[in-house]
């Protein structure tokens, strides 16, 4: 449905926001000196740093300048086995016997120490993953600390979470986390597992292992009994060794739907419990009665937050036809103002794409979008010479069947579609294999609840987007996975209930 709509653009009565200014932002870089990164990291097993039996290390680099930051041990199956044995030993001998309120105090300690070292963690998060320091400083790290704090409190209160049942831990949890929110995902995984009395073998993502290894340092300093948390870095093979290890009782995975399906398949026939938090293609729906300027900000935050490396990103925008021209114009104006560049600069809105590989994926989708005939608009901002970058991009006049409207791109790319009726947009929004999140923008409360009821998604944001809280459950419907993380419901995947 290309380019016939242009003529119909009505003259808008609203004032065009004037972003042009002679004022430029002076650089406001965060100092790297507040962070310590070792030259080499070993595996954290049984409370100690140990050399990998694989004898292999791999580099982790800064995607903003392609410079090597450190090298990290690559765990093979034998290393994973060592970690699982340590976790099993800690589970049987210490952790499951410990009074719940003492367990709680360890987790509270970890929360406090993450808070104490928040600045350092934020800097490393931005260096290793490319996300803007404003996001790592104001969102990732504090939310990670808060997750530990929140779940610490649950440890001795499980009887109230599951009335009329006894709660028992599962045993050893194998946890595999993604590269988009490295420390936060580690917290989402470790905190509820420990609170419910499980021990952990966690694998951080290959491109962003550093903050998880820093967390290992914190765990060591906290005096947590050895073996309760083990952190083994590595790639896909390391993950597979965790998934297939016979002495693991629970797999918690956050990542792509593709890998999630493989994991679900490979544990078939075992007694392993599993939670999957997978991909998404969230519909963000704007009705004509929505507060338009707020909605514009919500859309920008919804899709460009963390370079769009967000499984719940609002990457499919549905605009009611009557307000579409105005909204699209405002969105185009708004992305022109986004500052793309140095992740450590406090002015930066969009940092570096996490890896070369991910940048290639995004570029492939940009090409597909153009080839399928959709109108592409990208910000005209300059990009740094080195590193991996992508301008914030909008596709308009996108069809429901377009690949850029169906598949998860995981980058700063927004597909815009339009609709006329409630019925139509509900149909369109639900017409995807995913079901992680959705957004609704309208001034009418009764319409919000109509939509939240009909959306087949695990999290619905109304007149806001990308909000997270330790007390609020998060997770998907359909192929976005199952199980919830966060809140009271986030305890359930880590317990067996008995009479």
């Amino acid at each position: 449905m290309p380019a016939t709509k242009k003529k119909n653009v009505k003259k808008s009565n609203t004032i065009k926001l004037k972003f042009d200014t002679s004022w430029n932002y002076a650089p406001a870089p965060e100092s790297k000196s507040a962070a310590t990164i070792k030259k080499q990291y070993d595996l954290f097993i049984n409370g100690e740093w140990v050399k990998p039996l694989s004898h292999k290390y791999f580099d982790t680099s800064d995607p903003a300048n392609e410079e090597k930051l450190s090298e990290v041990a690559e765990a093979n199956a034998a290393d994973v086995d060592r970690a699982v044995k340590a976790a099993r030993n800690a589970y049987e001998k210490v952790w499951k016997k410990m009074p719940a309120k003492e367990r709680a105090k360890y987790i509270f300690r970890i929360a406090r120490m993450v808070q104490e070292r928040a600045r350092e963690l934020a800097i490393i998060e931005s260096m290793d993953g490319g996300k803007p320091i404003r996001e790592s400083r104001d969102f990732d790290i504090p939310t990670a600390a808060n997750h530990f704090f929140y779940y610490a409190g649950w440890a001795d209160k499980l009887d109230y979470a599951f009335p009329n049942r006894n709660t028992n831990p599962l045993g050893v949890a194998g946890q595999i986390i993604p590269w988009n929110f490295p420390l936060l995902m580690a917290a989402w995984k470790i905190a509820p597992a420990l609170a419910t009395g499980n021990t952990v073998v966690l694998k951080p993502a290959e491109t962003t292992p550093l903050t998880a290894l820093k967390l290992a340092e914190i765990i060591q300093e906290s005096g947590l009994p050895e073996g309760v948390v083990n952190i083994v870095s590595g790639g896909g093979a390391t993950g597979a060794a965790i998934v297939n290890h016979p002495d693991i009782n629970k797999i918690a995975f956050t990542g792509s739907t593709e890998v999630g399906k493989l994991i679900q398949k490979s544990i078939a026939g075992t007694n392993k419990k599993i939670t999957l938090e997978l991909g998404g293609k969230a519909a963000n729906i704007i009705f004509e009665d929505a507060p338009i300027d707020q909605a514009v900000e919500g859309v920008i935050n919804g899709v460009y937050f963390n370079q769009g490396h967000v499984c719940c990103a609002g990457s499919r925008l549905y605009i009611q036809e009557s307000v579409a021209p105005e909204l699209i114009r405002k969105l185009r104006d708004r992305i022109e103002t986004l500052i793309v560049g140095d992740p450590l600069d406090k002015n930066t809105d969009i940092g570096a794409i996490n890896s070369k590989q991910q940048l290639d994926t995004i570029r492939r989708y940009l090409k597909i979008g153009k080839e399928e005939g959709y109108e592409m608009y990208e910000s005209s901002c300059p990009l740094p010479a080195k590193g991996y970058w992508c301008r914030p991009t909008i596709f308009t006049d996108v069809a429901q069947s377009a690949r850029i409207a169906q598949e998860e791109i995981f980058g700063p790319v927004l597909a815009i579609l339009t609709f006329r009726t409630d019925d139509e947009v509900i149909q369109k929004a639900n017409n995807t294999p995913y079901g992680l999140s959705a957004g609704v923008w309208t001034d009418k409360g009764s319409k919000i609840f109509n939509l939240t009821k009909r959306m087949r998604a695990g999290v619905i944001w109304a007149n806001t987007f990308n909000k997270f809280d330790p007390s609020s459950p998060f997770g998907g419907y359909k192929e976005s996975g199952f199980g919830r993380e966060g809140g009271l419901h986030g305890l359930l995947p880590y317990v067996n209930l008995s009479h």
Binding site: F149, D423, Q427, S446, D469, S471
Partner: protein
């Protein structure tokens, strides 16, 4: 009087600090004052009583708080209520945890005070440890009791209907007489964890820890007025605690049935909630529960229409 002072006892280091405490050094005694609105005033009445231990040793002159002190404290508590109840529950949790941290750092002081008030050492240490753990227990509840006690109600009409607990307001508390520290913390923590503010009358016979605990509160980012601590006589103050028209609930922890009846009677003045904790053993886990938080909560139900325009939706 000793005529000779040993040289070693006077020896000072180069910077003038004593190397060891001279036997001649006179101890500085603490003035035990009350705690209102984040300040440590003396009672406006100017009256005092002498706290003594079982052997009759004088421990301190303690404020004999008046009705006016109580009224001042209610004003402070009411003023603090909006800010405290509207804080993020998570933030209240952080502050209660901070109180536990501060108490942990002053364990020795509290153990010592309990011992002065005739508690044997082992028991005193246990009481202080329990008190710290109890604060942590309630720090954890601050952002969780709502999840346990709220409900989304499946009403038959097309409405989104939910019920959530909210703090009742200003709570007056007469703390347990027996456990000077643990009793006080056990009744105050659930009240403030739930977002209420309070005025608490400390144990009359064991008031020292209550006043010292005010110092813990004062250094834990608890806003002034959230907890107000008075010392004095139950017999003088209990009727004012329960008859004040700007107090929403009263907690009483003793078994005195005459006082209980008086309280139930006077509470009717403004339909105050009266809560008796006369059967709880604060020294066990029985002394802590989210139901104690719920005792000073109201339940608020909200109705909101759900539009039914589209016919489709659940199909996928």
């Amino acid at each position: 009087m000793e005529k000779e002072i040993k040289k070693s006892s006077l020896s000072v280091s180069e910077n003038g600090i004593e190397k060891k405490i001279s036997p001649k050094r006179l101890e500085v005694l603490k003035t035990y004052k009350i705690y209102i609105g984040g300040q440590f005033p003396r009672t406006e009445s100017g009256r005092y009583y002498v706290a003594v231990n079982a052997a009759g040793k004088q421990l301190a002159n303690v404020c004999l708080s008046s009705r006016k002190d109580f009224r001042d404290a209610v004003v402070s508590a009411r003023n603090a209520f909006a800010g405290w109840s509207e804080r993020a529950a998570f933030n209240r949790g952080q502050i209660l945890y901070r109180m536990a941290e501060m108490l942990e750092g002053r364990k020795i002081q509290f153990t010592d005070e309990l011992m002065q008030q005739d508690v044997p050492k082992a028991k005193a240490e246990k009481e202080v440890n329990l008190a710290i753990d109890r604060l942590i227990y309630y720090a954890g509840w601050c952002d969780k009791y709502q999840q346990v006690f709220s409900a989304v109600n499946p009403v038959a009409t097309s409405h989104f209907n939910f019920s959530v607990p909210e703090p009742t307001g200003v709570v007056s508390i007469i703390a347990p007489q027996e456990d000077g520290l643990l009793g006080l913390i056990s009744v105050v923590a659930p009240v403030i964890a739930g977002g209420n503010t309070c005025i608490v009358l400390a144990s009359g016979s064991k008031p020292l820890c209550a006043v010292t605990f005010a110092e813990v509160i004062n250094s834990s980012d608890v806003p002034g007025g959230v907890v107000n601590i008075l010392t004095g006589k139950v017999s003088e103050l209990s009727s004012w605690f329960v008859s004040h028209m700007d107090v929403n609930a009263t907690i009483y922890c003793e078994k005195d049935s005459t006082v209980q009846k008086m309280m139930q009677d006077k509470a009717a003045l403004n339909v105050k909630r009266v809560i008796f904790y006369d059967k709880i053993n604060w020294n066990t886990d029985e002394g802590q529960s989210p139901y104690l938080i719920m005792d000073t909560q109201e339940i608020k139900t909200t109705w909101h229409p759900i539009e039914h325009i589209a016919g489709s939706g659940g199909g996928y």
